[in-house]
Symmetry: C2
Subunit: 249 residues, 2 copies
DNA sequence: GTCAAATTAAGTCATACTTATTATCGAGGG
DNA sequence: CCCTCGATAATAAGTATGACTTAATTTGAC
């Protein structure tokens, strides 16, 4: 123990399911992302972090290494550890994404996310129309079924919506496009808290989703891409309106 | 030292710029990605890895933690460490991307990459037309200048091409879209080895790139997106032809 | 078939030593 | 006298060792 007391530090029973290293990673990751530590400027030394978290040096080093692996930190002998500029962060890493959302969650961030979806999802719809397997098509159709059931109050609208978008990504059969499952799911879950998607335009929504699904099932790639594009453009416009920003193409 | 010899193991002078932990990360990461260790199946224990690489336990643990941070591994007490399924890997992580390329580099992988570019880059062009700053526009125009100079043999065609695409991503002013800089750069560098882009269609290419740039500078978002889409579709068709696959939308 | 004990492998800790980097200070030259 | 260069010392990360803890799985006894 860093302090001289004989009694061991009473460690809280982890609270979450994380071990000591994991909890330090979470704490430091969150602190870096919220800019408690500024990029390019010095980061506490290993010794200082040991004292701060009451952990041994190996544990602290493992935490720093994990953050280094995600692009948040970089360590050099003697020079110490420095926070990397945001450009070097692995923003698509689920943990980094989560920390960014936990920090001051802004409508601007949601707009950034949706701008990516605007690129990714229509392309996924095009590829799905081209190469979705039987079970993949079935999953898409089932998700539409859930959305229509939700309109009748028989299912959860948000979960059904997420299910549809995730199913299309999966059906693209492109492992890189599938990586955006987390981002899409997160975006949808947070969007509902900020805009009134699920109050104002639910009925039209299921119909429009069905048109995307129909195009995919029919193998009409161009239509699938165009319909998906319209769908997400609608969500983007809602966000831009909520953020009082001018609409964009 | 794991062996009982008194003389310290003669360690090669790192070869690359990596420290011991880094070299083990690279070796294990490469091995996992090339499926020397199969997903879901047991991974060597820490003790075994120590013996295998002649390294101490903290070093091996740090390496395992870094791979865990990238989604390749997962460790639990007593149960040991297991390789995660590919779906959990952070494929957009620059290291993981590099390891995937270093393994049997297939035209299929290049096609997967280009399918993503097909979604990402037109969207970046749309946003760039909408919100590129003065210096960002200038960088785009300069890249076009380099491409035209390359046609006259006065510059490097590949570097100029990369410069253009990276400049458009940067000008999107969306930090998530900027994350694809690595992927685009890598894709272009490898494409040239597999197809004849820079032999067969160089003259038309610079002209078409200029049309994208012109639309961005003019602030014509729809045209910028459409032109960029055509551009990448051309690259994709070349790859599909090289891979003897049917063209896709 | 169920429960408890033993075993195993990762998690944590303490300490010592090594090495690269950089700051500092002194010597030499302008 | 100031500036530059180079040797030296201090620092913080890198590596190594060994011991102990904890949780999960296996094994064996009931």
């Amino acid at each position: 123990m860093p302090d001289g007391s004989t009694a061991p530090i009473e460690r809280p029973p982890s609270e979450d399911g994380l071990n000591l290293t994991g909890s330090i990673v979470a704490a430091l990751g969150h602190a870096i992302v919220t800019e408690s530590y500024k990029a390019g400027r010095p980061f506490p030394t290993e010794a200082a972090l040991c004292a701060q978290y009451g952990a041994s040096r190996p544990v602290v080093r493992e935490a720093v290494k994990m953050l280094t692996a995600k692009g948040l930190l970089f360590a050099r002998k003697r020079a110490g550890t420095v926070v990397q500029p945001e450009a070097n962060w692995n923003l698509l890493d689920p943990d980094v994404l989560k920390w960014m959302l936990e920090r001051a969650f802004s409508i601007e961030l949601l707009i950034d996310f949706t701008d990516i979806r605007m690129g990714i999802e229509p392309r996924a719809a095009v590829l799905a129309a081209h190469s979705a397997t039987g079970p993949q098509r079935r999953t898409i159709v089932e998700a539409i079924g859930r959305m229509m059931a939700a309109e009748r109050g028989e299912d959860d609208a948000l979960e059904a919506d997420i299910g549809f978008h995730v199913a299309v990504l999966a059906a693209s059969n492109n492992r890189f496009l599938r990586q955006f499952t987390d981002l899409v799911e997160t975006t949808l879950r947070f969007s509902i808290r900020r805009t009134n998607d699920y109050k104002g335009v639910p009925r039209a929504s299921a119909r429009e989703h069905k048109r995307v699904a129909d195009a995919i099932i029919a193998g009409d790639a161009d239509a699938a891409g165009a319909r998906m594009s319209e769908l997400i453009k609608g969500a983007l416009d809602l966000l831009l309106a909520a953020g009082r920003q001018p609409p964009r193409p």
